[in-house]
């Protein structure tokens, strides 16, 4: 019996189903929390740990597929749909929007547990990535305004001379800024800095050749 460090959220308006699924997961040693409606789920305070959302398609307040669309913006656990009458268009839509699986009641328990496993793994991965990105963002926020101007020019591959001309400062000053950026962002090399900028979605705004036209 495993006691994984994750939780499964179940949203289903049929009390019997909620109860049975909760019981099933409990028998498998999986933590679960049940909700009778989408609203209940959204407003509830949820623990910050890897999770999976088992979502019924027909809910009293909102269609499960619509809920998926609504919560897509923020960080949310991967969804496993569970429906009384699955139809192909709904399942296609659900999967396209990132659902882990689309199961029809009464579902195969192994399939459900497998889907939960996939979903939790995906969430763990996502959380890890989000955590790394959080560190990078924090470092980026530590840059001065001038350093934030210098960063895109450097990762775009401009020569120091070109970047300095772009900002109207001396090459020496630019080199100081560049060193500070490398240091603050914990980049071991320029290639490392370029990768970090990619993760932070810092766009490559300049080309060495275009800027070289001034030569």
């Amino acid at each position: 019996m495993t006691t994984g460090n994750y939780i499964v959220f179940i949203v289903d308006d049929d009390a019997r189903v909620r109860e049975a699924l909760g019981e099933l997961l409990a028998a498998h040693g999986i933590k679960a929390r049940v909700f009778a409606s989408a609203g209940e789920y959204i407003t509830a305070e949820k623990p910050d740990m890897p999770a999976c959302l088992i979502l019924d398609v027909e809910l009293p307040d909102i269609n499960g597929l619509d809920l998926q669309g609504q919560i897509a913006e923020g960080d949310h656990p991967p969804i496993v749909f569970l429906t009384g009458h699955g139809d192909i268009p709904s399942s296609v839509r659900a999967i396209k929007h990132g659902a882990v699986d689309f199961l029809t009641k009464p579902c195969d328990v192994d399939a459900l547990l497998a889907a939960i496993g996939v979903a939790v793994a995906r969430d763990k991965e996502g959380r890890l990535q989000r955590a790394e990105l959080g560190v990078l963002k924090e470092r980026y926020h530590g840059l001065t305004p001038r350093e934030r101007e210098v960063l895109p020019l450097v990762v775009s591959g401009l020569l120091n001379k070109q970047a300095a001309a772009e900002l109207g400062i001396s090459e020496v000053t630019l080199q100081i800024h560049r060193r500070n950026v490398m240091h603050k962002m914990a980049a071991a090399s320029l290639a490392d800095l370029v990768r970090i900028a990619g993760q932070l979605d810092i766009p490559v705004t300049h080309s060495r050749m275009q800027a070289g036209g001034d030569l």
């Binding site: 049929d14 109860e19 099933l24 498998h28 027909e58 009384g84 009458h85 009641k105």
Partner: protein
């Protein structure tokens, strides 16, 4: 002059002459002393009176001596005057009667004057006494005649007045003044009189006309209203004519006012009654004409003129009038009948087409009636005509519709007959006669009742008894008759027919006749077996269609408990497989499995019951109980959703035969639908469940205040409603349930928002 009473011998010649003059004058002369004692009385006087002078002076108890000769009625007045004059010396003048010697009294005028001495004392009185009797009598006569005239004036029932030549009121008779309530002082200024006494509407004209007449010297005649004493106005005719002197100059105007109020009112009433009569004639929806005995048109009512055309120029004789207005085809007959009537003096009636103003002809009925005087002589013919066009057209239409109906009856592909209330045939359509091979007159050889013989002859012997029994029953009770039996065709072959007959009743409900129709159902009957097979196929097909429609819904309903069962089974297995086994949890999950499996079975059995269409489980229940119970079932859910469920059940609502569970499912479904529809509504969420009688059915309404949306067309297809725990079946199933109960289920959009789901169930005991 001194006259003494001494002997005439002493009188001087001059005095003698004077005396002679005095005594020869007509009239009497006298003289008296200051005490009133006569000193001289002319001889003619004494002769007239038949008294001596001393007699006149001889006093009697302080009275004058001449008392004897003065009329007793006059004496006191005369004596008082004489005493006064003696005392004051005023001139004496009195008129009184004196008794002649023969005892006759005559009127005299006695005048005397005193002469005075130098001290102003009376020395002597001299006087004359003149006979004024004739004059006096003439005066009396005049006065009397004037009095009589005045009496006449005051007595005649006219008001008399006069104007001066310049038009001022000079006289108004007493009667006149009394009538007007004025006094003599109040008239004078004619203008003022007119203004005050003549009706304001008439006054200006009266004044103008009077002034005009006075100026021209023409006779004034006018009718006007005068105000009477009481303030009411009274119609008066005033007439005034001038009186002229020999030179033709007007000396006075004399006028009378005659009260003509009654006359005027009578005339007014006459005019009114004539106008009323005319209005009445014009208001009546009849046209009125009158003709003189010699058949000349004398009157046409306004309505007639309006209807027929431009005013008819009088006189016109009857024939011309009729030629003008009657339809050429009708003219000869109309004219002849009328002329016959006129000649015989008897009332007559004509119906004909009459031309109207617009040139169209309309049917009218004209009735002529003579008016006779006491001697029976015809004074006038009156003709009143009424429009009967619609009647005539209706009759024509009736004849036409009768013809069409007859044709219809004769050409209908059915055998039609009518019979008397006792069942005897009175009519058979040609088709029926053709079918039987004989008409109404063909049978009845052996003197038996026609019905019996007819039935005997045409009904299949195997069916005859039943037909006679049923037909007899209908005839006796008046209930419609319907029977399938075999009917003999002209060629002897019996074919199946369905005969239906119903009574035709008069206004009082009495049966006038029976109308019946025989339809050939031979082919039908023969095809019945095939038809039954076809119906069975159809029934199965429709059941299959229903299943297809409902299968998705059923799957949905069953899937929920099944999903729970599967999950619980795994959980249970898991608890049991654990080391050590968790028996408690396993037990709980096993119990849940049993519970959910029963729920699923319940769904299945209910659905099966639905398709069985059986009414075994139906009981007669009051609706209120069912609805209240439903609300209780949904109370928690309603609370969670913030919905208020109001229930309004009509008092004394008839109970309904129903499958309690099924109807409850319908109600749960509808209520839940309503609650869900209001999920997105802000503010008050109220669900109203009403139950009321509507004709022979009980009507239940579930009204929500959901959003203002059109109801989807496919509302009664599966899955319109969302699933919930319990029996949340689709509206399609609700409709099936309601229809299996003999009712209807439909939805209506509310104004301004929300929807109402309504279902009906037949009231009463019937399943």
């Amino acid at each position: 002059m001194t006259v003494t009473t001494s002997s005439p011998d002493d009188i001087s010649a001059e005095a003698m002459r004077a005396l002679k003059i005095i005594e020869s004058m007509p009239g009497f002369a006298w003289s008296a002393d200051a005490d009133g004692q006569f000193t001289y009385v002319s001889p003619s006087t004494l002769a007239y009176l038949g008294n001596g002078r001393d007699d006149l002076n001889t006093a009697e108890e302080d009275e004058f001596g001449w008392r004897r000769v003065v009329h007793p009625e006059d004496y006191e007045r005369v004596a008082a005057r004489w005493r006064h004059c003696l005392k004051t010396g005023d001139d004496y003048d009195a008129e009184h009667r004196l008794r002649r010697a023969d005892g006759v009294y005559r009127w005299f005028r006695n005048s005397g004057r005193a002469s005075f001495d130098s001290d102003g004392c009376i020395t002597q009185w001299y006087g004359t006494t003149i006979d004024i009797d004739d004059q006096k009598k003439a005066e009396d006569g005049l006065r009397e005649s004037e009095g009589r005239l005045q009496e006449i004036i005051d007595a005649v029932p006219v008001h008399i007045w006069s104007w001066t030549p310049t038009g001022e009121m000079a006289y108004v008779s007493k009667r006149n003044m009394e009538f007007l309530g004025i006094t003599e002082n109040e008239f004078g200024d004619f203008t003022k009189v007119v203004q005050e006494l003549i009706h304001p509407d008439d006054a200006p004209e009266v004044h103008r006309h009077a002034a005009d007449c006075i100026a021209r010297g023409e006779v004034f005649v006018m009718r006007y209203r005068r105000r009477t004493k009481g303030g009411a106005y009274c119609w008066t005719e005033g007439r005034c004519e001038p009186v002229r002197d020999q030179h033709g100059n007007i000396v006075h105007w004399y006028g009378v006012s005659i009260n003509i109020d009654d006359q005027m009112r009578a005339e007014e009433e006459l005019r009114n009654s004539k106008r009323q009569l005319e209005q009445m004639i014009d208001a009546l929806p009849v046209n009125v004409l009158s003709f003189s005995p010699d058949m000349v048109l004398t009157y046409t009512s306004k309505r007639y003129q309006k209807k027929i055309g431009p005013a008819i120029s009088f006189p016109r004789n009857f024939e011309d009038v009729i030629r003008d207005v009657a339809h050429p085809e009708d003219f000869a007959v109309v004219c002849q009948r009328a002329l016959d009537g006129f000649a015989a003096g008897t009332p007559f009636v004509n119906r004909f087409r009459r031309r109207e103003r617009d040139g169209n002809y309309r049917w009218i009925e004209a009735r002529a009636q003579p008016l006779r005087n006491a001697e029976g002589v015809i004074l006038q013919w009156y003709i009143a005509s009424v429009d009967i066009d619609e009647e005539m057209r209706a009759q024509e239409a009736l004849r036409e519709s009768e013809r069409i109906l007859r044709q219809l009856v004769e050409t209908l592909p059915a055998l039609i007959y009518c019979s008397a209330p006792d069942g005897k045939p009175i009519y058979r359509s040609r088709q029926l006669s053709d079918y039987l091979g004989f008409g109404l007159d063909g049978v009845d050889e052996e003197g038996r009742p026609r019905l019996d013989s007819t039935l005997d002859a045409i009904i299949h012997p195997d069916d005859l008894a039943a037909v006679q029994e049923r037909y007899g029953h209908s005839l006796a009770t008046g209930k419609p008759y319907a029977m399938k039996h075999r009917l003999r065709r002209y060629d002897g072959e019996y074919l199946w027919v369905e005969t239906r007959a119903a009574p035709m009743r008069d206004a009082d409900g009495g049966i006038v006749q029976w109308n019946g129709v025989c339809m050939d159902i031979d082919g039908e009957v023969r095809a019945r077996h095939e038809l039954q097979l076809a119906q069975e196929r159809l029934s199965r097909a429709s059941q299959a269609a229903g299943l297809a429609e409902l299968s998705a819904s059923i799957a949905h309903e069953v899937n929920q408990p099944l999903a729970a069962i599967v999950a619980n089974s795994h959980a249970c297995h898991r608890w049991l497989s654990a080391e050590p086994a968790n028996i408690e949890r396993a037990k709980i999950t096993a119990e849940r499995i049993i519970r959910d499996a029963n729920a699923a079975a319940d769904v299945v059995s209910r659905i099966r019951a639905l398709f069985r269409q059986s009414s075994d489980t139906r009981t007669v229940l009051p609706f209120k109980d069912v609805i209240l119970e439903t609300r209780k079932l949904l109370a928690d859910e309603a609370l969670r959703r913030g919905v208020l469920i109001d229930i309004d059940i009509q008092e004394g609502l008839a109970p309904v035969a129903m499958d309690r569970v099924q109807i409850q499912q319908v109600l749960i479904n509808l209520l839940r639908n309503g609650m869900e529809a209001m999920g997105s509504v802000a503010g008050e969420k109220a669900l109203l469940v009403r139950g009321l009688a509507d004709g022979g059915v009980v009507r239940v309404e579930v009204r929500d205040s959901g959003p203002d949306e059109e109801l989807p067309a496919k509302i009664f297809e599966p899955f319109f409603t969302t699933k919930e725990q319990g029996m949340g079946m689709g509206l399609a199933i609700c409709r099936s349930i309601v229809e299996s109960h003999g009712g209807r289920l439909w939805a209506e959009k509310n104004v301004p928002n929300g929807a109402t789901f309504i279902f009906t169930l037949p009231a009463g005991v019937k399943g």
